[in-house]
Amino acid sequence: MEDIIKITVIDRDDERHELDAPTDMNMNMMELCKSYDLPVEGTCGGMAMCASCHMYVISAHELSERSDDEEDMLDEAFNVEDNSRLGCQIKLAIHLDGLEVKLAPVG
């Protein structure tokens, strides 16, 4: 199907999960991980108001800039790196086909 992209999530045990991700359901990376029962909490439900979906973007995909809200919440996360993002702020879209992310340690 043309609306489905492939996304790789590396969990905290370094196990790789190749996921089929729909781009026509207004989903984000936090929700995608939850729908596959990967250990992402998503406490605030996706409002960039907690930091429980912290992940690192490993592939070279161009993502939207971090918003101020996201930047603020990353202040409450640990092990923040230059490629740190909140999964809930990464919206699934066709141009993210092949995206690879790694879940950040639970802080």
């Binding site: 605030c44 990353l74 202040d75 640990f78 092990n79």
Partner: protein
């Protein structure tokens, strides 16, 4: 000892609404919450966010929903134990539960309703090796009494309001030396507090380290120094008496996980007939419970609370028959 009919753990929207539904059945409630204010996530995480799926409210701010619920339950005069975490549960000789908080407050009730959402909010602890060895020996996650820091060297970490406010406060003639460490050059938090911190740094009254984070702690019994990893300058060692990491709060299941309840993926398994747990007399409602088809929605929690109090009533008064009375018929709620 606080005696009540239904002891509710968690003052989020579902815990609060339980007071209303119990009140209609003339059951008295008391609520324990680890946070100092009612509202749970609605007040702690997103008070200014609109919610669109509360029936009859096309849009309501989470903070306003909390205020409305508090108004709605006022006629039933619920008791509150706020800022304390429900810690230990026991059963006494009469079959009532005794719940003791981390501060030793004791509550007694025949029914427990756990409406604890995702658990109780606790300070986020940085993943620094050996940190636990220095807790209360130089490392504190909450400032209880600023006088504690008089004439001491203090390092604060964080970029939000509490980090900024405490930096400003402790630098104003309380601590002998204040260092603020933050992972990036800009701060969230109130612009006034940010400006004040910048001014203090400019005039040399505080030591401001941005683009850095504390990655190590050291000391002999109590804290002597922290290691800061700086993006361009490498490692910096700071001699200090205290390190106060202020990274906000996050919910943890906490002591409830030890209450011998059936837990599945951090949630309490319940019977959807009445939201009872595997321990008779203990119910779980709202985001904390799980069952086939569970949806973590406030409105589902309200429904669960309503059915739960019916079952609680029958446990408390097994010989009485309960008749559903509509509020339109019974009139203004009162105890």
């Amino acid at each position: 000892m606080i005696q009540t009919n239904i002891l509710i753990i968690g003052a989020g929207p579902v815990g609060l609404f339980t007071v209303f539904e119990a009140g209609l059945l003339k059951l008295q409630c008391h609520i324990i919450d680890a946070l100092p204010q009612p509202g749970g996530q609605c007040s702690e995480i997103y008070p200014k966010k609109p919610i669109y799926d509360i029936p009859a409210y096309p849009s309501i701010l989470a903070g306003d929903l909390t205020a409305k619920l508090m108004e709605q339950i006022k006629p039933f005069s619920p008791g509150f134990t706020l800022g304390e975490r429900a810690e230990v549960i026991e059963k006494d000789s009469e079959g009532q539960f005794i719940v003791t908080t981390n501060r030793g407050t004791k509550h007694r009730a025949p029914i427990i309703a756990i409406a604890a959402g995702l658990g109780c909010f606790e300070p986020r602890k940085p993943p620094v090796e050996g940190l636990a060895n220095f807790e209360d020996k130089g490392v504190e996650y909450i400032i209880k009494d600023p006088e504690f820091y008089r004439d001491k060297k203090v390092v604060i970490s964080g970029g939000g309001d509490s980090a900024l406010d405490w930096t400003n406060f402790l630098a104003d003639g309380v601590a002998s030396e204040v260092t603020l460490v933050h992972r990036r050059p800009s701060f969230r938090g109130h612009p006034d507090s940010v400006q004040k911190v910048m001014d203090l740094a400019q005039s040399g009254k505080i030591n401001l380290i941005t683009n850095g984070e504390v990655v190590g702690v050291a000391g002999n019994g109590s804290l002597d120094s922290v290691e800061v990893k700086h993006k361009s300058d490498g490692m910096i060692s700071l001699a200090t008496d205290h390190w106060i990491p202020l990274f906000g709060l996050s919910p943890k299941l906490g002591p409830i996980g030890e209450w011998k309840l059936n837990i599945k993926k951090n949630a309490i398994e319940v019977d959807t007939f009445d939201y009872s747990t595997n321990v008779p007399g203990i119910y779980a409602i709202g985001d904390i419970n799980t069952y086939p088809g569970k949806l973590k929605l406030i409105l589902c929690g309200f429904h669960e609370a309503t059915l739960m109090v019916q079952s609680a009533y029958k446990r408390i008064y097994p010989d009485r028959n309960l008749v559903l009375k509509y509020t339109t018929v019974s009139g203004a709620p009162s105890m």
